[in-house]
């Protein structure tokens, strides 16, 4: 028996608050979980800065990755196995891709990638294809197996059905994170009947389709997605923490470029600051390392870096007002910019517009004009129809645009009347704070 078919003597089970148990029988999966690159995901939170708002949201990307693996395992072993449209030889590939799909995420990856112009998908591929423990395990299956896993995650694998299991508008990734994020944040929105959805999934040439009889379960899934976006992922206070985090990283990079002398050399950031990040350096960074620097930078001589780190570590976040960037509001913003400078508060770091498009989450889209593959229902007569054409509920929310912009600023500095009182009053009036 080859390594790809090797089973553990005894099935391993992980207790999991979302799926109750995660079952591992394949030796390859067990070995992948034990690699240092996979274990690193324990030190990267699934929801970045959300824990500053929902204190339970401390779950890691490792929890989520195991959850996605378990969903795919149930689909391929319990639902697809034996169906003529499904090629069971793709089973192990699907499981590995599910387990490893988030491997390249960095610490607080959304802000981190923005500031340093990185892409976690690029690092996922590098970890899978490079000189790593993960690559060593995958190569034992077959020499071309790492490339196949990488292609599935990059959505460029030839079998689109396999890709769609892990990445589509109703995929294992979303089904896990919606439920997991709801559980750990403690909100009551992200619930839907996943067991039902799994039972009505059917493999087709290019994608998974859902039997018409499961439409109401899918409606629930779309609704929970919608609710979670607005109640958790787009939460204005989480966005405030994210704004501060982004500005800390910008400031540290700026200081490095100006040859500023840090009290402790930020060696972990050097390759990022220089824009030449190697895989080895990248893997050394996790959220523990970043938070360690933020702690130290509270004692720095640079007043901006010091202040921003104090805000992040001690949760003294920016306040916000709704902001509609119409031309009159944009003129007001330019005016505010000038007043901030006069007040001695650098607007580059302390006056920030944040938009819904700056966030990494997406809505269900019916896929007009070949944008993204929509969710398809399989009707009893064999016809395939796009979900929002059959469901009034989905139609009601998927076609509607809802966008959101907020203006963030440090209210405490504007209320501090120890200096520049007149200018600060003017600012507060422009922001409608007084």
């Amino acid at each position: 028996m080859g390594y790809s078919e090797e089973k553990l003597h005894e099935e391993k089970v992980f207790k999991d608050p979302v799926h109750r148990y995660i079952h591992v029988k394949d030796k390859v999966i067990w070995d992948l979980i034990g690699t240092k690159e996979f274990q690193r995901l324990r030190r990267v939170r699934q929801l970045g800065t959300t824990f500053l708002v929902f204190h339970g949201a401390e779950h890691s990307r490792l929890n989520h990755s195991l959850g996605v693996y378990e969903i795919i395992r149930r689909i391929v072993d319990d639902v697809f196995n034996g169906r003529p449209e499904w090629d069971q030889s793709e089973r192990l590939l699907s499981l590995c891709a599910a387990l490893l799909h988030d491997l390249g995420h960095g610490p607080f990856s959304h802000s981190f990638e923005k500031v340093f112009d990185l892409d976690h998908e690029h690092f996922t591929q590098q970890i899978i294809l490079g000189n790593t423990e993960i690559n060593e395990v995958l190569s034992r299956v077959a020499s071309d197996f790492p490339q196949k896993v990488s292609d599935v995650i990059a959505k460029t694998y030839k079998n689109k059905l396999v890709v769609s299991l892990i990445s589509s508008q109703i995929d294992a990734d979303r089904m896990d994170y919606l439920q997991r994020d709801a559980y750990f944040t403690g909100v009551s929105y992200g619930h839907f009947d996943m067991e039902r959805i799994l039972r009505v999934m059917r493999p087709r040439e290019d994608q998974v389709v859902i039997k018409q009889s499961g439409m109401h379960a899918v409606e629930d899934y779309i609704m929970s997605r919608y609710q979670m976006y607005w109640q958790v992922y787009f939460h204005p206070v989480t966005r405030s923490a994210e704004v501060i985090l982004t500005k800390i990283l910008h400031r540290a990079k700026h200081l490095f470029e100006k040859n500023y002398t840090f009290k402790l050399e930020p060696i972990h950031f050097y390759s990022l600051f220089k824009g030449e990040t190697s895989l080895e350096d990248y893997l050394k960074l996790d959220e523990s390392v970043m938070l360690y620097y933020f702690q130290l930078w509270q004692e720095e001589n640079d007043p901006i870096l010091k202040d921003l780190c104090d805000r992040f570590v001690n949760r003294k976040l920016f306040k916000y007002v709704e902001f509609h960037p119409s031309n009159s509001q944009m003129s007001k913003l330019l005016e505010l910019n000038k007043l901030f400078i006069k007040a001695g508060i650098d607007p580059e770091y302390y006056l920030v517009v944040d938009s819904s498009s700056d966030l990494p989450y997406d809505f269900y889209r019916p896929g007009e004009e070949e944008e993204r593959l929509p969710i398809h229902l399989l009707k009893n007569n064999g016809e395939i129809r796009e979900l929002s054409r059959e469901s009034e509920i989905v139609d009601a929310i998927s076609g509607k645009r809802r966008t959101d912009h907020k203006l963030y600023f440090p209210a405490d500095l504007l209320e501090d009347e120890s200096g520049k009182r007149k200018i600060k009053k003017q600012i507060r009036q422009l922001l409608d704070l007084d």
């Binding site: 460029t156 119409s326 517009v353 498009s357 997406d362 889209r365 004009e369 070949e370 993204r372 966008t403």
Partner: protein
């Protein structure tokens, strides 16, 4: 401060009118790949490189009244055309952009059809691979589009031409 939005408004102003969401996506992706500073993240989707961030940003700009989105019925589907509104033009007066080479590149792309731009963007997506492997990717991943070797060659030539244009100005 709203810079990324401003770049999209600027791009549509330079192109004049862009017919189709797919075309808009591919034009911005190609411009980004030939070194114009667009920040939107693209991933490979069913129809090639696609950015959800760009989709949402365009929606925001339509909601803000800076872009006009007109829906036209085509055979079997709707197509969306984007133009700048008067508010969009006023906005650009507030937000000057310095990307002089962008205009000829976008105008050139805008007269190509969406199918060809889909091919060009796919070739660019795999630009780290040797040409034979890129052809194989195109034939495998875009089998329904039935691209020929000649068309792929044409895409390569087109990319070289655009890169020259981007450098010249």
């Amino acid at each position: 401060m709203f810079n990324d939005h401003a770049k999209i408004i600027h791009a549509i102003a330079l192109a004049g009118e862009i017919s189709g969401r797919k075309k808009l996506q591919k034009m911005i992706y190609i411009a980004k790949k030939i070194s114009f500073p667009f920040q939107e993240k693209f991933q490979f989707h069913f129809y090639g490189p696609y950015s959800e961030e760009l989709t949402l940003r365009v929606e925001e700009l339509c909601n803000l009244g800076y872009l006009n989105e007109a829906r036209e019925k085509k055979s079997g589907y709707y197509q969306y055309c984007y133009t700048l509104t008067d508010s969009g033009k006023e906005f650009l007066d507030l937000y000057q952009m310095e990307m002089p080479a962008l205009e000829p590149c976008l105008q050139d792309m805008n007269v190509q059809n969406a199918r060809f731009l889909e091919l060009v963007s796919t070739v660019l997506y795999f630009d780290s691979l040797p040409k034979e492997e890129v052809c194989e990717k195109v034939f495998t991943l875009k089998s329904k589009q039935k691209y020929t070797l000649e068309e792929i060659e044409e895409a390569y030539q087109y990319i070289a031409k655009l890169q020259e244009k981007a450098k010249l100005q």
